[in-house]
Symmetry: C3
Subunit: 258 residues, 3 copies
């Protein structure tokens, strides 16, 4: 099972990505996250922590696995991946992302739709943890709904600059931009996310949830205002530039392993 589920006092449930080595998002992991979010709400959880691995929250999409998919399967993957984003955006209970390491691409995407992002500082200041939507670097246009989420969190100008460059930023810059809400020591992101949930659960519950629903109505509305065309996204995936860039990336990764 690629997702470890732990329940804590007060109805807080931790969903921890656990697909070695780097929590790459393949169809099964995306489906597991979605099912776990549905179940958490159905079972009355009061808040959710979405945690990644130590050192790497998630490396993003599992490119080698996805390159093996045919057109129908890839179309399903895009639909399901944006579906998880929408489920996070529309979650009736708070979701805190615990980011205890690097957080590129698909991992950053998931975190952007959570209520809050708590990111660890790297123990080695020379090698800071980085977060960002580096899709353009790997030949993938960033879908409109995901762009809208980044824009909502850090503003249109900063979002444009990062998105077009496919840039990753270090954790300090991420906090200054508002890409993440708080920093913590390495290894502490999950504990801090739990503490964030507890603080919010101590508040008068109806007032908190009603205020939250209004404050996040724009997050939910993203999927009405910027509906991505899954068919076009699938066309782009199978286009020459994206396939060539992806395959070159996979070749580099495999060479690096040998």
């Amino acid at each position: 099972m690629s997702l470890a589920i732990t329940d804590h006092d007060g109805g807080i449930r931790v969903l921890r990505l656990q697909r070695p080595p780097v929590n790459a998002l393949d169809p099964a992991l995306v489906a597991a996250i979605d099912a776990a979010l549905v179940r958490a709400v159905d079972e009355g959880c009061s808040a959710i922590v979405l945690a990644g691995g130590p050192k790497v929250f998630s490396a993003g999409l599992d490119v080698p696995a996805l390159l093996a998919l045919d057109r129908d399967a890839m179309r399903d993957f895009w639909r399901d991946f944006l579906g998880v984003c929408e489920r996070l955006a529309r979650s009736p209970v708070p979701v805190a992302a615990a980011i205890d390491g690097h957080c590129p691409a698909g991992g950053a995407v998931l975190s952007l739709f959570c209520d809050t992002r708590i990111m660890a500082r790297s123990p080695d200041p020379e090698k800071p943890f980085r977060i960002g939507l580096n899709e353009v670097q790997v030949g993938l246009p960033v879908p409109a709904a995901i762009q809208a989420a980044l824009r909502r969190q850090i503003g249109a100008r900063a979002a444009e600059r990062l998105l077009v460059a496919g840039a990753m930023v270090d954790s300090d810059t991420a906090e200054r931009l508002g890409f993440v809400d708080a920093l913590c020591e390495s290894g502490q992101a999950e504990a801090q996310a739990l503490a964030w949930c507890r603080r919010h659960l101590e508040l008068p519950r109806q007032a908190m949830l009603a205020t939250r629903a209004m404050a996040r109505a724009d997050m939910a509305a993203i999927f009405d205002t910027y509906p991505d065309d899954i068919e076009s996204m699938t066309d782009v995936w199978f286009g020459a530039e994206t396939q060539a860039t992806m395959r070159a990336l996979v070749a580099r990764l495999q060479a690096g392993r040998n």
Copy 2:
């Protein structure tokens, strides 16, 4: 009279909340502010300063007084309170908020609809002055129009985080976030707000006012885009959670006085 009115050179009028001990907003004070805003414009004032007390701009809603209201009176209060907010948002002349102390809840709300917020730093750095919409802490959901105003001033992400937590921030954080526009020494907020008005009145008047009307069109539009349902707000006020939280708050305040 709970509102002191002073006229200054150049047609600048200061409206100073003066309802001891902490300028709590009851129906009469809200009505007095509204009437004074109407009169200031009718009498041709060129700019307005909305000032609070030293140490506390306003403690927000006068909860003990409001708890004594019946449903009709409470509905009227909500309508009138949002009415003052809208009047500030649509003011044809600039309004500067002079915040010379703590500025929670209803006081922060009024200031958010002004053109600018000038806040004093506490003389005691250990006890900084704080500003914020802490409604959730007292069991009250933040109305949609007020959420929209905060979002407009500090961005959707920061607004969501503060609103849902019912958080107050110290004056330095408030300035960094854009919750206030400028800081000043304790006791100087009113003088600085007057200086702000004077600087703006030295500008070519038609150009300034035409630019201002366009720059603040989104503030006025809040009340078209996010019309709050006064009936629902009244239901919530009389709901179990809000009443229990409010009554516990009043009990704590009274115990503190004895």
Copy 3:
């Protein structure tokens, strides 16, 4: 010719304002910029740098020249000036503004519609370079589309405060606000803008351009959402306040030269 055009490797074209002494924008220079933008795209340039002069990017509108225009010519000027802004906003290829000195009014306007603004720090820290929309100071209301662009880059609150005051800010403040994206040493803005273009041209091209088109769709939409009424702008130009303020400005400038 008031615009120097230089082609660089990789299809990058530099358009450098070159109308001594301060690159003031008269009808001919505005027309030249527009024509050069059209030609650059038609000839397949991959990216564009819009550069100003050393010390002054552009002083903004050529007020003495414009004061000599009759109503028809002034109406044409407004249409053409907003036309260049819209062309920059809709450019199919990236445009970097290289700001190597002061950047008031019309110069700042043009830069706001580019993809990025790289501004030099003054060599004299006592006399920092400044950027801003100081139109109100010279009696001119800021058109709605231009306000929308500033709002998009730095947020509604900061934009309101700067626009209404007609304020210029120094380069450090500009970077902090997001008015410019990066600072560089004096004399290096054009080189840095070229480097910015080169970095973006190394990215997978279709992914970069598709992401950019989505990320800047709101910039293009400004001209649909905030169509300025050229007729009203022309009325205002010939109004008493604007004419008096402008003529006083020109008199001061001429006195300063003698």
